[in-house]
Structure formats: structure tokens, C-alpha cells
């Protein structure tokens, strides 16, 4: 579905991404984990067509990405800045649907449905700034879901919410993925999270950002916050990813 070929990007003299190659299958949920400064966000922005890479290319369903591709939704880390404060929650969620050529009634219905699916059935008439951080992030997830993207990119979406909310949102993403069948790329710096939600974990190294390893998550698709995290296989995978990330944080290491 998504192919990244020899992707490199530099800002002036500073190389951020170096020769990344990655393939993501239709309907896969891939977590991308790495230390800070590994170019995770730049990678997502290249995939989203928000910036064009210095070299290499991104192909989506066989078409090279040149500008923002169709059927894409991004959930940004900075949820409070990504929602428009002058629109109600429902109007925020409904706004992208204008691109789908839907009528006002259809947009509203889709927005209400998406809000209900993230557990906020009554928030539609409120304004984003009247909600807590976790609720705002749910709204931005609802906005992405209502759009029914074929590819959903999430940039550290749970970075600034409390632990309980974070677990709820992780389960929400898993549920959405299972029922909606969309392809999801989730960037995180949380090693546990990358294993818990992912079908596959891609570990990035830094200076400049490169792909260090890809690990298949050999866990059953049904995950549970308590049971899965206690599973011996989960513990093993987490340790493996953790070693790779730590190694990545201390700079390039001879393989």
C-alpha cells in the first residue's frame, strides 16, 4: 500500500533522514519508535506530502506522493493547536468532510457518529477549549475517523495525556483499526506502546534518522492492557525494542 524508497531529507546542511526504505501492507498497523531527534516527524511529513524529501520517493497505492495524497488523515501531537478554536467540536470534526463533497446533514451525522465512537457523544456543541486535553485529542482522532482515510498517520498522538487516558486511546486505535480496516502508521517514543498497538515495530536510529530494525509483533491481534502487558512474549518484545532504541540513542553502533 505504502512504499518508501531510499528516502533522505536534509534541512540545509543538516541531514535528518538517511536512505530509508520501508513497505507497509494494506490494513497494517505499524508503530514507528525511536529516540528524540531521529526524524520521526519529518518522516511523517514526507509521507503526508507536506514536505518533499531531498531524495528518494514515497509511493501510495502505486502513485508517487507529490503533494498531499487523497484519503489521508493526520493526527498531530499538538492536538490543542490542531483544532480550530472558533469552531464547535462538531464543526471541527465535520470540516474535512467538505472535501468529500458531502451535504451539511451528512457531515453532521458523520461527525456525531465519529464523536460517539471516541466516547464523546455529548461534546459536539462545545468548543475545543472547553474540553480537557485528553478529550481534545479524542476530538482530533474523531476528526480523522470521520474522514474515513485509507491511510492514517499519527504523530505521537498520546504524548501529552495522562496514563489512564493514554491506555483508553491506545485501545480506541486498536478497535478502530480492527473495525475500519485502515492502514495506520503510529509514531511514538514509548516502547511499550509501540509493541502494544503495533502489528510491526519499526525502530529508528538517529544522526541522521535511519531504519535500525523492523520487528514483527508476534502477539495475537486481541490485546488487553493488563493481560497483554503481562504476556511473556510482550515482555520479550519490549526488551528487544528497548535494547534497539537505547542502542540507537547512543548513536550508530556496529552491527
Amino acid at each position: 500500500m505504502l512504499r518508501i524508497d531510499g528516502l533522505s531529507h536534509r534541512y540545509g546542511e543538516h541531514a535528518v533522514l538517511d536512505d530509508m526504505t520501508l513497505e507497509v501492507a494494506e490494513g497494517e498497523l505499524v508503530s514507528i519508535v525511536g529516540p528524540s531527534g531521529c526524524g520521526k516527524s519529518t518522516l511523517l511529513r514526507c509521507i503526508a506530502g507536506l514536505i518533499s524529501p531531498t531524495s528518494g520517493r514515497v509511493t501510495l497505492d502505486g502513485t508517487p506522493v507529490d503533494g498531499v495524497p487523497d484519503g489521508l488523515a493526520v493526527v498531530f501531537q499538538d492536538y490543542s493547536r490542531s483544532l480550530l478554536p472558533w469552531l464547535t467540536v462538531r464543526d471541527n470534526v465535520a470540516l474535512p468532510l467538505r472535501r468529500r463533497g458531502k451535504s451539511k446533514a451528512e457531515r453532521r451525522a458523520a461527525a456525531d457518529e465519529a464523536l460517539a465512537s471516541v466516547g464523546l457523544p455529548d461534546a459536539g456543541r462545545k468548543y475545543p477549549w472547553q474540553l480537557s486535553g485528553g478529550m481534545q485529542q479524542r476530538v482530533s482522532i474523531a476528526r480523522a475517523l470521520a474522514y474515513r482515510p485509507s491511510l492514517l498517520l499519527m504523530d505521537e498522538p498520546f504524548g501529552s495525556v495522562d496514563a489512564q487516558t493514554r491506555e483508553d486511546l491506545e485501545d480506541l486505535v486498536l478497535r478502530v483499526h480492527r473495525t475500519g480496516g485502515m492502514t495506520i502508521l503510529l509514531v511514538t517514543h514509548d516502547i511499550d506502546e509501540s509493541v502494544y498497538v503495533g502489528d510491526r515495530v519499526v525502530v529508528l536510529g538517529r544522526n541522521p534518522g535511519h531504519i535500525r530494525a523492523e520487528i514483527d509483533v508476534t502477539l495475537p491481534p486481541e490485546r488487553d492492557q493488563i493481560a497483554t502487558r503481562a504476556d511473556a512474549e510482550f515482555v520479550r518484545l519490549r526488551a528487544e525494542v528497548g535494547r534497539l532504541v537505547r542502542g540507537a540513542a547512543s548513536g550508530p553502533v556496529a552491527a
Binding site: 507536506l50 489521508l72 490542531s82 480550530l84 478554536p85 474522514y147
Partner: protein
């Protein structure tokens, strides 16, 4: 003239949090009515002081009229249809028309300068040359060319009122959140749609502040141009002509009071609108 609001002009709305720190710790916050009562008390004390000063004869009668006389005269004038048609309406007309034209010119201009860096650079020298010219200094020149009618006043008002609106539009555009813009772009919205749905709404509170500033500047120009021009209609003419009569002090002061009331009324209306329209902006600043 614009001193009271100038921090808001510079930094857009960002000067607001100081209000909170000004509220002393442990001191109960005044309600809106409470503040209004205090303000009114201040006005009454000043009025009484002026009244006493004038009645006591400490100040010559032709330099200061008693407050009560001025208030009575103001009521008289406001009940007089001829005063409305000869003085108030012409000034209000020039004021309103000038403001509308200024906003209609300044907002698109600000949008252009704010979104096309090339135009901004190319026009900077011209703008920096024109802006410091005190608009009041242009009154004689413009009256020479256009006479003393409505056109003259409107031209001057437009010239003076364009700047705050244009610059606030320009600054306001820079205030749009890049994450919000990227969000809409990633949903496939084009540059014009992003301008219309993110950049412009984000700039609106700033533009509005610019309009508020422009409103008081425009009143200064309307009345000032009338006084200096000396002929025609308007509140400024009323004041100017009263100046020339033997016992004109009372009318000069009454005209001045009415001009001040016009400014106060317009500013209060705009402030009321601001609170209702931009609730989200105030909230954002506090969070």
C-alpha cells in the same frame, strides 16, 4: 489618542494576561456592575469639582462653564433637529463612511502584504515614508484640493484609519497556528481554503482591534478636519464657530463633550462586540 490601546496594537491580543496580575491577591474581583458604579462615581466627582470651580468664580466665566450648564445645553442640542442635521449627521456620515472604506481597503491590503512576501518587501519603503506623516498635518493640503466637504473628511479619515487596520491584519496573519494550517493541508485543502478557513479567522481578533483603534482615530480626523477647515457642516464646525462668538465657551465645551461621548459610545459598542465574537480568543490566551 491611541496610547490606551497601543500595547494591543503591537502584540495583538497578547497583552491581556497583565489584567490578571493587576488584580491583587486575595482581593475580590469586581463584577461588571461594580466596576461601572466606580467609574460613574469618578465621573460624578470630576463633574462636581468642575461645577464648584466654575460657580465659585475662581476661574473666569469665559474660560469654564459650569457642568450643569453644559449638560443642560447638551440635552437642548440633542433635542434640536437642526443641530442633528447641521452638526451630528455630517460628522457621523464622514466618520462611518471613512471607516468602512478604510477597512475595505486595509484588510485586503494587509492580506496581500501578509501572504506575498515579495509585495511586502517592495512596498516597505513607501509605507515607512507615508506612515509617520501625522494625518492632521494633511488637513490643509487635502482641503486645498478637495474643499471642505464630505470628500475631504473621508479622504483624511481613510488615510489615517488604514494604518492600524492594515498592520493589525498583517500581524494577525502571522498568528495563525502552523499546526492548524498543516492539519487542513493534510486533509487536502488548498492554499486559498487554508487562508479562508484558518489564517483569516485566526487574524480576525487582531483585525478587530485594528478597527477599534481606527474608530477613535477616525473621529479625531473627522472633528479635527472640520475645525481646521472652518466651513461646511459638522460637529467640528459647531465647535469652531462657537469659539468665535462672544460667550461661546459653553457651546465649545458642550460640543467637545458630545464628541467625547460619540467616541465613548463607539468604543463601548465595539468592546461589547469583541467580547461576544471572540470568546475563543480570550479563552486561548488564558489557557
Amino acid at each position: 489618542m491611541s496610547v490606551e490601546h497601543s500595547p494591543r496594537l503591537r502584540a495583538g491580543g497578547r497583552a491581556v494576561p497583565q489584567r490578571r496580575s493587576a488584580r491583587g491577591a486575595g482581593r475580590p474581583r469586581l463584577t461588571r456592575t461594580g466596576r461601572a458604579v466606580r467609574g460613574l462615581a469618578g465621573v460624578l466627582v470630576l463633574a462636581a469639582a468642575l461645577e464648584i470651580l466654575a460657580r465659585s468664580g475662581a476661574v473666569a466665566a469665559d474660560s469654564l462653564s459650569p457642568t450643569s450648564d453644559i449638560v443642560v445645553r447638551a440635552g437642548e442640542l440633542l433635542g434640536d433637529g437642526a443641530f442633528w442635521s447641521a452638526s451630528l449627521v455630517p460628522t457621523l456620515k464622514a466618520w462611518g463612511l471613512g471607516l468602512v472604506i478604510a477597512v475595505a481597503v486595509a484588510v485586503p491590503l494587509g492580506l496581500l502584504l501578509g501572504s506575498v512576501p515579495y509585495v511586502n518587501t517592495a512596498t516597505r519603503a513607501v509605507v515607512e515614508f507615508l506612515r509617520p506623516i501625522p494625518s492632521v498635518a494633511l488637513i490643509p493640503l487635502v482641503s486645498l484640493i478637495l474643499g471642505t466637504g464630505l470628500e475631504m473628511k473621508v479622504v483624511l479619515i481613510v488615510y489615517a484609519a488604514v494604518w492600524p487596520v492594515m498592520f493589525n491584519t498583517l500581524y494577525g496573519l502571522g498568528d495563525a497556528d502552523p499546526v492548524a494550517k498543516d492539519t487542513l493541508r493534510s486533509f487536502g485543502f488548498g492554499p486559498l481554503a487554508v487562508l479562508w478557513r484558518v489564517t483569516l479567522p485566526a487574524a480576525l481578533p487582531f483585525i478587530y482591534t485594528g478597527v477599534r483603534l481606527a474608530t477613535s482615530i477616525a473621529l479625531i480626523l473627522a472633528v479635527g478636519a472640520e475645525i481646521l477647515a472652518g466651513f461646511g457642516d459638522g460637529l467640528g464646525i459647531f465647535i469652531g464657530q462657537a469659539m468665535g462668538t462672544l460667550d461661546g465657551t459653553r457651546d465649545v465645551m458642550t460640543g467637545t463633550l458630545l464628541a467625547g461621548c460619540l467616541g465613548l459610545l463607539a468604543n463601548s459598542l465595539l468592546a461589547f462586540g469583541e467580547r461576544r465574537l471572540f470568546r475563543w480568543h480570550v479563552r486561548e490566551e488564558r489557557s
